[in-house]
Symmetry: C2
DNA sequence: CTGCGTGCAAAGTATTTGCAAACCG
DNA sequence: CGGTTTGCAAATACTTTGCACGCAG
């Protein structure tokens, strides 16, 4: 996925083996991962790698738009691949509660600067959970 | 606020002095608090009280609809008073980044069971940050 | 009375930081 | 080469759990 590499370079970040591997891992699975899971998967592929490095890389990749961090109330954090970076600047995501598959949800009506209940809107978090088409069938 | 007391009783929970105090604290300020902040405020009013108890009470009060827990990416959790419990089952909240004041945002277009990008929607998180009318003036 | 609620102490766990060595560009 | 990036070790900090006592209903 050249686009991810572009995003990384454009942000002035280096394209290291671990970062490439992290991107591959997310590309090969449609579901979100915790830092710990990412570490395990990276280790299976290229040996030792430290958890702090994973945290830093996930944050770096989220910062340049390759990944995004999911909102939620659990203790752990989750990241997922933003599969159409730059396509629609204004989309959100829905996660399948059964298989974890992440899809885009377009058509958000909220945008920065608009008025909302007397407030000037700065940012917003929108995130969905549901059951994907596949998991609805295989029920 | 009798409504809060109702919600607590309806949930089969007891109306203890600490719970009353927590509700008062949230009623007297329009902004969200962390568990630690709530503990400090409760201690100022009625002396010693443990942090674990605060955690349990905040969760209990959120569970019966008196408070709600904010979504976010920070390390700390925040709770705020749901000032119109039961009014509109489908509203979200906007928080002022300057003063922390929380307001309701009505008119959510998403509801459980609807189809969204091929998924059957189960739940969603929607939350806003902005600048409230007051803070826009006093700039 | 009876069971929920509370405080305390301690454990559990996710996340962050500092630093020297390794490495991308 | 120079500034990032990485791994390790250790520190932080938030949150949870277990338990005995106390209190609301």
């Amino acid at each position: 996925m050249y686009k991810a590499y572009q995003l990384i370079r454009n942000a002035g970040l280096k394209l290291t083996p671990i970062r490439k591997e992290i991107i591959l891992i997310f590309e090969e699975s449609p579901r979100p991962f915790t830092p710990r899971e990412v570490q395990n998967l990276v280790q299976k592929r290229i040996g030792r790698c430290g958890l702090p490095g994973i945290y830093r890389n996930l944050e770096a990749l989220a910062g340049c738009g390759v990944l995004f961090r999911l909102a939620g109330f659990g203790r752990e954090r989750f990241y997922a691949l933003c599969r159409e970076p730059g396509t629609d600047p204004h989309h959100h995501h829905i996660v399948c509660v059964s298989c974890g598959k992440v899809a885009h949800v377009d058509g958000c009506r909220y945008h920065e600067g608009m008025m909302l209940g007397g407030y000037r809107l700065l940012s917003h978090i929108v995130q969905f959970e549901g059951v994907c088409a596949n998991c609805q069938e295989n029920n």
